[in-house]
């Protein structure tokens, strides 16, 4: 390390200068493993954690809103069309545009990012929840009624458990989608793993944006895998051929 610094001093500053580091880093090589090792702990890991937070909060809030809307739509049918239309409308707006359109309203902020991210989860979660609830076999509900269950008991002990696979499928899609969209949210200052991507591109430092990109893809695939496992653990009676 000292040798490298000494040689840097000897050679004078290189332009662009990516600071201390190996020859690879100074020459902006294709991919410098040593930079990744040196900077994972203090540059990449915090961003990754931030990204998970950003995603978890968006999916959590989105889930709560969609859940209430789905329960309402399940009971009062007229709720379905306007809520679907609204969430489909939001869903079709390209994400970078929605983030930017929120900037004049809620600023370059975490809030703007979360509002958009929550908006994108609604369609997926709502439709899957409602489909799940509506596909509960009539016989199961009749049986529960025959056993003297109240409406509330039927909902919590028959309909929701039977709708669980569909709800989990929606949760999975919504989570992965949010992880993907949250990378772009870094552009309006929301942080997350998109931050080192944009920073790296701005500085022209290959290793940084490539590594962050790989981390984003990995995070999405790992989350997808974990949710599949959760799906199987929570609803083991469904055959998952896919």
């Amino acid at each position: 390390m000292i040798g490298v610094i000494l040689s840097l001093v000897g050679a004078g500053p290189t332009i662009p200068d990516f600071g201390r580091g190996s020859d690879c880093v100074r020459e902006n090589g294709q991919f410098c493993m040593d930079w990744v090792v040196d900077n994972f702990g203090d540059q990449l890991l915090p961003r990754l954690i931030q990204h998970i937070e950003l995603t978890a909060i968006a999916v959590g809030i989105g889930f709560a809103i969609a859940f209430i809307a789905a329960l309402l739509a399940h009971r009062y049918h007229w709720v379905k069309t306007p809520f679907t239309a609204f969430s489909a409308f939001v869903y079709t707006i390209p994400s970078i545009a929605l983030f930017q359109l929120l900037v004049p309203v809620t600023g370059l902020s975490w809030t703007s990012a979360e509002i958009a991210l929550v908006g994108y989860t609604l369609l997926i979660l709502f439709r899957n929840m409602l489909t799940g609830l509506q596909e509960v076999p009539r016989d199961a509900i009749d049986a529960a009624e025959g056993m003297g269950f109240t409406q509330r008991q039927i909902l919590w002990r028959v309909e929701l458990p039977l709708a669980l696979p569909a709800i989990m499928a929606g949760l999975r899609i919504a989570t992965v989608t949010t992880i993907s969209l949250a990378t772009i949210a870094a552009y309006i200052g929301a942080g997350g793993i998109g931050q080192p991507i944009f920073d790296g591109i701005q500085r022209g430092f290959r290793t940084q944006f490539v590594t962050a990109g790989i981390l984003a893809v990995t995070l999405a695939l790992v989350a997808d895998g974990l949710l599949v496992l959760a799906q199987r653990a929570l609803a083991p009676w469904v055959r998952y051929g896919r």
């Binding site: 079709t92 970078i96 545009a97 004049p104 997926i124 439709r127 290959r206 962050a212 999405a220």
Partner: protein, 236 residues
């Protein structure tokens, strides 16, 4: 509110710029969709016809959804460099999975009785495919194309990061165009996404054979809705 008014003024004052970027954007999107169709439709239709590898074909869309477009472009930037090729590769990677899944499901779920009847009439496999399976599968294949098109138009915005041009050039260049320009660009790309969605919805309806019009597709349930309808945003 001032910002939005500013954006409208920007649109009024710069029609040439906007038009140029829209055209660039559409060209790039069309090229990507074209290549993606050439790759995905034969695979999806072929596998659906043979009823093989359903796991792979159906999961394609799930995996496609899991790939963040910005990350793909940034990885591509490292290995393919700045420019058209990188952006095309990223867009094609994102467009192919929903196309394969929809084409597969579309052909795979064609009523087996219809296929049996066609065989009984003495049709050869290729005739069964072109005269029975494809016409019946067309609406759903088109649903996949619609998804992919909206998806690619949205992703195309990120192309600017990798020097691919398009409306992203305005949206990602606040120093030159100010917030008004950025907002204006965002409005235009949003309008473009809705226009594409609407256009393809109409085309899809027009291409649906009369006999099966109005019939609901079972796939909504099979895949969970967004895989079919508008997985538009997954990564962009």
């Amino acid at each position: 509110m001032d910002t939005f008014l500013g954006a409208l003024e920007f649109l009024r004052d710069n029609p040439g710029l906007i038009w140029e970027k829209v055209l660039q954007h559409l060209q790039l999107s069309a090229a990507a969709i074209g290549v993606a169709l050439l790759i995905a439709i034969p695979i999806g239709v072929g596998l659906g016809h043979l009823h093989k590898w359903s796991f792979l074909a159906i999961n394609a869309a799930n995996i496609g959804r899991a790939l963040p477009s910005l990350a793909l472009i940034s990885i591509g930037l490292g290995f393919l460099g700045v420019g058209f090729v990188n952006v095309m590769v990223a867009m094609i990677i994102l467009a192919v999975p929903p196309l394969i899944t929809n084409a597969y499901v579309a052909v795979d779920q064609v009523d087996p009785d219809a296929v049996e009847a066609a065989r009984g009439m003495g049709m050869r496999p290729i005739q069964v495919l072109t005269k029975v399976e494809l016409p019946l599968a067309l609406p759903l294949i088109f649903a996949g194309i619609r998804t992919a098109v909206v998806y690619v138009i949205a992703t195309g915005t990120l192309a600017a990061i990798a020097g691919g041009g398009g409306l992203g050039d305005i949206i990602f260049n606040q120093p030159s165009y100010k917030l008004a320009g950025v907002i204006a660009g965002s409005m235009v790309i949003t309008a473009l996404a809705f226009a594409a969605e609407g256009l393809f919805a109409v085309l899809q309806r027009a291409l649906t054979p009369k006999g099966i019009r109005g019939r609901e597709t079972a796939t909504d349930v099979l895949l969970g809705p967004p895989a079919i309808e508008s997985a538009a945003q997954a990564g962009a």
